[in-house]
Amino acid sequence: MIEIVEVTHTYRIGKETIRVLEIPSLVVGPGERVAVVGPSGSGKSTLIQIIAGLTLPTTGRVVIDGVDIGVLGESQRDRFRARRMGLIFQAFNLLGGFTALENVLMAAMWSGIKNKSERLQAATALLHRVGLNDRMHVDVRRLSHGEKQRVAIARALVHQPSIVLADEPTASLDPVNKTVVLDELLALVREKGATLVFVTHDTTLLSAFTRVLTLGPGGVVSDRSPVPVG
């Protein structure tokens, strides 16, 4: 469960202070699949980073599964994130020079799965699951965009996180891959019972989510269940 309480985030440019995010209260329950939409600069990516603990809010609290991550030290937050969350980015953000399998194994290793064979088994199984069984030993720089994002999904889910945070993961993909990747992600999230927070600009994808959060310059503009398409 994600609880956000009176969170604001600002940054300074010269003497000017710019507020990029303001959320008085938001609760995302276990297993929910939330799409976050809004114009550029509305704070969507910042919201993801604050939930992940990659950056701390200027004010307010973020509580994940009962733990206020603002009170954790940086190392503790690193460990907490590694164990509880999976992150997927628009630009894939895989580590070049490493194979698909190694990218997934790295996340497994840092998430605290001690047993090597367990890590290998989990990584291999997920790469099979996303259809990369014959590409797992290829350097990620040689994979197609669709394949890279599937590696990113496997990496985000290898340690069975309770929360998956995805920052526009389908934005760089063609329509076919977009559908494939989203379907795979949703299927896996459902399968694992994880909570999904999915930032997107693409309104055609919203019907796949249980809840849509719209951000605007003043904060949350709307919070509703999507209207099914067609």
């Binding site: 980073q49 950056t55 940086e74 992150l87 953000n93 580590l95 070049g96 194994l105 840092w110």
Partner: protein, 432 residues
């Protein structure tokens, strides 16, 4: 699959081959420079020591002791004046002397020094009980004047074979086409070729010293006649100038001779007595070589200091390269943090990258130093016939270890810069 931090660091540096290759090359060249300087210095010392091993005390006319050693042992430089024959005979007859080996120098054949000596030359040994230092491989030793035994290198370079004849030229340097210097009436016949010794003797042509006497008796007679016929003949002056020698009248003298006393006490007595006499000086090659080594050592120290400076610059370059790569890879490090790597993990990956770079740079540099040494040894062997032996430079081990520690310091400094990088600053680049 072991995806250790070592492997991660290795993959990181492998993913930027140009920067990695250049950095490793800079370290390798600096290391090779540093190691090859000290190795060459040591190699030359060993080569010179081995070359001078068969020579005991060298006696020659008064003058530069270094010149005497260089001329007699290394067949370099110009001869000093002659030692009077009666002085040589007196030393030879001294009861404290076990053996003497005469040397007459001053002529050459195509630049290869002609060394007048006698059969005792072939009995010289590096140390008592050692095999003879100079051994015939083809033909035989000279038995009569105008029979010549060639050093291995001299034979190879001149192409002379057993039975061939050649005429010597006056002086220590070869002057192409100047027939006036040649002793055409009295040619030498090659009777033997020596086994390679990898010492300057390989470049020598050894003849009986009486050959010198006869040549120069003949020359004196001819010059006497010529001077009477035309005192203004310019060729005579040219001949004298080009001889480049202070050898003076060789008709009945010896340029230098080696003395093997019966014991240490006798050696010291003779050393003092000869040096006190007005006719000659006695030189112990070890002492002179010690002075030369000091000069070499000083030169090597200066070059070594420069090499360390170059190495320090290389370390700074590595530091900058790594720092720059951190800027480039900031996103990767952010990503590693985002998927669970701790600051410490990233710190170690960056530090190990530097360790890899230094380790490989040192390894290649160490190998390269032997390649440089081989080239130097070849060059010096070809030019001076001083064999620089291949050896394991134990001193290199601590230098490399010291350098690796320096590399670790660079690694830690660079990694600390990454460690101090806040995720927030990376996020400002990343967030949009």
């Amino acid at each position: 699959m072991a995806l250790s931090l070592w492997v991660m660091a290795w993959r990181q540096i492998r993913s930027r081959p140009v920067v990695t290759g250049t950095t490793i090359m800079i370290i390798a060249v600096s290391v090779a420079l540093m190691l090859s300087i000290s190795m060459a210095s040591e190699g030359i010392k060993r080569g010179i020591s081995e070359s001078s091993a068969p020579y005991g005390m060298v006696v020659g006319s008064k003058g530069s002791e270094t010149q005497l050693i260089f001329n007699t042992i290394f067949l370099l430089d110009r001869p000093l004046g002659n030692v009077p024959l009666d002085f040589y005979e007196a030393v030879k007859a001294d009861p404290r002397v076990q053996a003497v080996v005469p040397f007459a120098l001053g002529d050459n054949y195509r630049g290869y020094r002609i060394v007048g000596t006698d059969e005792r030359f072939f009995a010289m040994r590096a140390y008592p009980g050692a095999p003879p230092a100079f051994v015939i491989s083809q033909g035989q030793r000279f038995a009569h004047p105008f029979e010549a035994v060639l050093g291995a290198k001299a034979a190879q370079d001149t192409g002379l074979r057993i039975g061939d004849t050649f005429v010597s030229s006056h002086g220590t340097d070869h002057h192409e086409g100047l027939e006036i210097d040649e002793h055409r009436e009295m040619p030498y016949t090659v009777v033997g070729i020596m086994r390679p010794t990898h010492t300057p003797a390989d470049r020598g042509i050894f003849v009986h010293y009486e050959s010198y006497w006869r040549l120069h008796e003949h020359e004196s007679a001819v010059e006497h006649d010529a001077t009477r016929a035309a005192t203004s003949d310019q060729a005579a002056d040219t001949s004298h100038m080009l001889s480049g020698s202070d050898s003076g009248d060789l008709s009945h003298g010896i340029t230098a001779f080696l003395v093997h006393p019966k014991g240490y006490v006798e050696l010291m007595q003779l050393y003092q007595e000869i040096n006190a006499s007005p006719h000659a000086q006695a030189v112990l090659p070890g002492q002179v070589l010690g002075k030369i080594f000091e000069q070499i050592g000083f030169g090597a120290e200066v070059l070594g200091a420069i090499a360390w400076l170059v190495l320090a610059l290389a370390a700074i370059t590595v530091c900058l390269t790594l720092y720059q790569s951190i800027e480039v890879k900031r996103k990767d490090f952010y990503l590693m943090r985002a998927i669970g790597a701790s600051r410490l993990h990233v710190f170690f990956v960056v530090a190990l990258e530097a360790v890899w770079l230094f380790f490989l740079g040192e390894l290649f540099g160490w190998a390269l130093s032997y390649v440089v040494y081989a080239f130097l040894a070849y060059g010096i062997g070809e030019r001076l016939s001083i064999a620089m032996p291949f050896f394991f430079d134990a001193g290199a081990a601590w230098k490399l270890a010291l350098l690796l520690i320096g590399g670790l310091v660079v690694a830690v400094m660079t990694a600390l810069l990454t460690y101090r990088t806040q995720l927030d600053s990376a996020l400002r680049v990343e967030a949009s």
